[in-house]
């Protein structure tokens, strides 16, 4: 019997190595995999490169991971959020690297990684500072830049429902980057609010099929708090 559900955070976060590229979804405070991040802190991997839309808020979750010194570099689209105090302090002290990337390019680069597309052309950023050093090429009279697939060693996912095959649903805007991050990582680890029986999810509505999921841990934390 296939059973991707694990019983402890230690099992969930096993095998995450130093220097890993960790994909962390969520958008603002919604859908942050904070329990998995706490588990990762406990687990101890360091020198991580994190790919996330924002650079952490307050002192929890991703911000906490940075605060305890585990993140060497962050790749994100929007570091300047309401309260990026941890990131800002580390960054200004030269203790963390920052790579800023357009949000859609970030999403598409991870989708490409998951879809076996090593590189693609995009119109986004052409003629701007963020295209400097990038290979440019014209198609049908418009200029595009080449972007390569962005792989993760690990993806940390927060889902609404999960079954033992790893099929997932999300809730409202908490879906955000997760379906592409789950595809783009070698090891996809999920914290799910609800564990359901195999067959309970509507096959038309599975947002991440289990093929992209390795481990699921039940974390019924309730409602997210916007900070």
């Amino acid at each position: 019997m296939i059973n991707k559900i694990v019983q402890s955070m230690a099992e969930a976060t096993a095998d995450i190595r130093d220097n890993a590229v960790v994909l962390i979804g969520g958008f603002g405070s919604i859908g942050q995999p904070n329990a998995l991040i706490e588990g990762l802190i406990e687990q101890g991997a360091k020198d991580l490169t994190v790919v996330a839309n924002n650079a952490g808020v307050g002192h929890t979750g991703l911000a906490r991971l940075m605060e305890v010194g585990r993140v060497r570099k962050i790749i994100c689209s929007y570091p300047r959020t309401s309260d990026p105090v941890v990131f800002a302090e580390l960054y200004r002290a030269g203790k963390i690297e920052l790579e800023v990337m357009p949000q859609g390019t970030m999403a598409e680069r991870m989708r490409a990684a998951g879809a076996g597309i090593p590189a693609f052309y995009t119109p986004t950023s052409v003629g701007t500072k963020l295209a400097e050093g990038k290979e440019a090429r014209d198609f049908h009279g418009r200029t595009y830049v080449l972007e390569e697939a962005l792989f993760g060693d690990v993806a940390l996912v927060e889902a609404w429902q999960a079954d033992r095959w790893g099929n997932l649903t999300y809730r409202s805007s908490a879906r955000n980057f997760y379906p592409v991050m789950a595809m783009a990582a070698k090891l996809t680890i999920v914290q799910a609010q609800h564990i359901v029986e195999l067959g309970a999810l509507d096959p038309e509505q599975v947002a991440t099929p289990g093929i992209f999921v390795d481990r699921v841990v039940h974390v019924p934390y309730g409602e997210p708090v916007v900070t």
């Binding site: 958008f27 603002g28 405070s29 919604i30 859908g31 689209s77 929007y78 570091p79 300047r80 959020t81 309401s82 990026p84 800002a88 960054y91 200004r92 920052l98 800023v100 990337m101 357009p102 949000q103 859609g104 390019t105 999403a107 598409e108 991870m110 989708r111 995009t122 119109p123 986004t124 950023s125 052409v126 003629g127 701007t128 500072k129 963020l130 999300y170 809730r171 409202s172 805007s173 908490a174 879906r175 955000n176 980057f177 997760y178 379906p179 592409v180 947002a207 409602e223 997210p224 708090v225 916007v226």
Partner: protein, 224 residues
């Protein structure tokens, strides 16, 4: 241009408020358009679309058919907009993931994206993501939206607090996109960006074309 000239111009007319800028732009959106609204003044825009006119608002974090803020007792805590504020979904709305959301954006399916901006130039260049001294540049989805939407409108103040024009011959800040902006709504005027540069569509109450030119870096034209 100077702080004094700007102050005199502003004193001689009745500049539009942020709400009035948003309302002015909202009035110009036809029924049936798919529209993304950015942070800053644009986030106010959906409040001013006439209730009988169906305009479908997209939020790049995977929402198509975004509605207004919910009352406190009806908040869905999994539903926020790109500014990280609680919103609602209208009947007919749907959710997608980020790559699909930006496929809509980059693929040219949005009729319009309304953004705030630091600067705009007469060639349609605009700069809204980072200034020269910014050590924490934050681009978000602005470059994807600028490259992908069929039209870009900018909602912004006409001048900085120091009275410097934000409506320029050429942008001095790092660009968000090249030649993408089509129309600008400021607190002083509504401007079209044409092959000949800025054409004035509308002026704030009491403002003359000449007074507007006095506080504007770029040369202005009258619409035909």
């Amino acid at each position: 241009m100077s702080t004094k000239a700007a102050a005199e111009t502003l004193a001689a007319c009745k500049p539009w408020t942020r709400e009035e800028i948003a309302a002015r732009a909202a009035r110009d959106i036809p029924e049936g358009w798919y529209v993304n609204v950015g942070i800053g003044i644009p986030v106010l825009l959906p409040n001013y679309i006439p209730p009988e006119r169906e305009v479908i608002i997209q939020s790049e974090n995977g929402i198509l058919g975004m509605g207004p803020s919910p009352p406190d007792d009806k908040i869905n805590r999994w539903l926020i907009n790109a500014s990280k504020k609680y919103v609602t979904l209208v009947p007919g709305g749907s959710y997608v993931h980020h790559a699909d959301s930006f496929a809509m954006i980059r693929g040219g399916h949005l009729d319009l994206c309304v953004l705030g901006s630091f600067q705009v130039a007469e060639n349609g260049d605009f700069a809204n993501w980072t200034s020269a001294g910014d050590d924490m540049p934050s681009v978000g989805g602005a470059m994807d939206l600028a490259a992908g939407a069929k039209a870009i409108w900018l909602l912004m103040d006409h001048t900085t607090k120091n009275g410097d024009s934000k409506v320029m011959r050429r942008c001095t800040y790092p660009l968000t996109a090249v030649g993408a902006a089509k129309r600008v709504y400021t607190n002083l005027a509504v401007l079209d960006i044409t092959d000949n540069g800025f054409a004035v569509r509308d002026l704030a109450p009491g403002l003359t074309f000449e007074a507007l030119q006095d506080v504007t870096d770029a040369p202005l034209h009258l619409t035909n």
